[in-house]
Amino acid sequence: MIDKRVADLAYAVADIADRSTIMVGGFGEAGSPVELIHALIDQGAAELTVISNNTGSGDFGLAALIGARRVAKVVCSYPRSAGSTVFSDLYRAGLIELELVPQGTLAERIRAGGAGIAAFYTPTGVATALAEGKEQRVFDGQPYLLERALTADVALIKARAADWHGNLVYNKTARNFSPLMAAAASTTIVEATAVDAPGTLDPETVVTPGIFVDRVVQVADFAYEPVLAAQ
């Protein structure tokens, strides 16, 4: 029988090892798996590499993980944040590494990782500082950069609803990177508001098929970042 539900957040993240590479879903506030990140902070894993579009806001979620000095390196497109100086302070002090990747290239590298594509040629970033050290090649007269796939040991993502098989649907723009990360990580851990029996989600509208998901934790009410930030 397939039942990917796990009892609580602590159990869901218990085996994440030091020096793991962790993909973290979300674009700003939308889709950030704050509860799973807080469980990871409590769990204690350190020297992590985090792949995520941003570096968190306020002093909770990803910003708190970085602030707790658990993150050695960030792979992201936009590490600056209006509501947090956690990453910026550490970066300026030389205490955290940054690999800056254009947002679409970040998405495509993660997608490639999940799809078994080793590398691809993209026009994004040609003739810019972010092309430095990258192979450039011309196809049909146009220059492209070679970009490598990204994979991870663990993905932490947030869904609107899940079933026991790990099939997922998301809420609006909270979808963002999560379906890509679910496929690119060896172990995908999901926090979802609703977790029901197989058959409750329409097969036509499942966004992330359960094959990409390993663990599902039900989290009754999401701690939305703006709400937390206001506290």
Binding site: F27, S77, P79, R80, L98, L100, Q103, T105, N176
Partner: protein, 232 residues
């Protein structure tokens, strides 16, 4: 073209930000799929002529973006690329980031309108990094947009707050893309990127050709029909 330092030229009134946005909006064809950058370009959404239907794309995963919601209707899971709350219009669709940037990179968007730190006479754009050594670098989707979208329009003040020209011979700030800009709307004038510099399309009221030349660090060619030209 002029190498006059900023201090020698005065400030001109020109167009307001909303007037610039309205001019940019007037040039968007009915039925276009458009991405509006964060900042002044966002104003364009309020100036689309009522007889046109434009579909707005936000790269975090939405086509058919509508205006900001009433405060009590804010959904933190429904935001734009600037992380501000938005709404959906009939015909909207949600998708993940790889699909969203497939639209961008694959040339499916008709137009993006972006801000700029510098625009070069050869269409080069610098808008992601000041190049300051202590700055935390952040690029977002800017490089994807300029490399993939069919047309790139720039909406920017003609000069920096300090009065330095933003329209330059070659960008001195880190490039977002090379040869990517098609048209520039400033508070003083509208330009196309021409074969030999900025081609002047039209001037703001009260602005002369010489005003523009003084404030532009690159060749400007007056391509307006003769009867529209005003000479100082």
């Amino acid at each position: 073209m002029s190498d006059l330092s900023a201090s020698k030229v005065g400030k001109l009134k020109g167009w307001t930000r909303n007037q610039m946005a309205a001019l940019a909006a007037a040039d968007i064809a009915d039925g276009s799929y458009v991405n509006l950058g964060i900042g002044i370009p966002e104003l364009i959404a309020h100036h689309i002529p009522p007889d046109r239907e434009i579909v707005l794309h936000t790269e975090n995963g939405l086509l058919g973006m509508g205006p900001a919601p009433d405060p009590q209707a804010v959904d933190p899971d429904l935001i734009n690329a600037g992380k501000k709350p938005v709404t959906t219009l009939p015909g909207a669709s949600f998708f993940h980031h790889a699909d969203s940037f497939a639209m961008i990179r694959g040339g499916h968007l008709d137009l993006c309108v972006l801000g700029a730190l510098e625009v070069a006479a050869n269409g080069g754009l610098a808008n992601w990094s000041t190049g300051a050594t202590d700055a935390v670098p952040a690029v977002g989707g800017a490089m994807d947009l300029v490399s993939g979208v069919k047309a790139v329009h720039i909406l920017t003040s003609h000069c920096t707050k300090e009065g330095s020209p933003k329209l330059v011979e070659r960008c001195t700030r880190p490039l977002t893309g090379k040869g990517v800009v098609n048209r520039v709307y400033t508070d003083l004038a509208i330009f196309d990127i021409g074969a030999a510099g900025f081609d002047l399309v039209c001037l703001a009221p009260g602005v002369d050709f010489s005003d523009v030349i003084e404030r532009t660090a690159a060749p400007v060619n007056d391509i307006r029909p003769k009867d529209e030209r005003t000479w100082t």
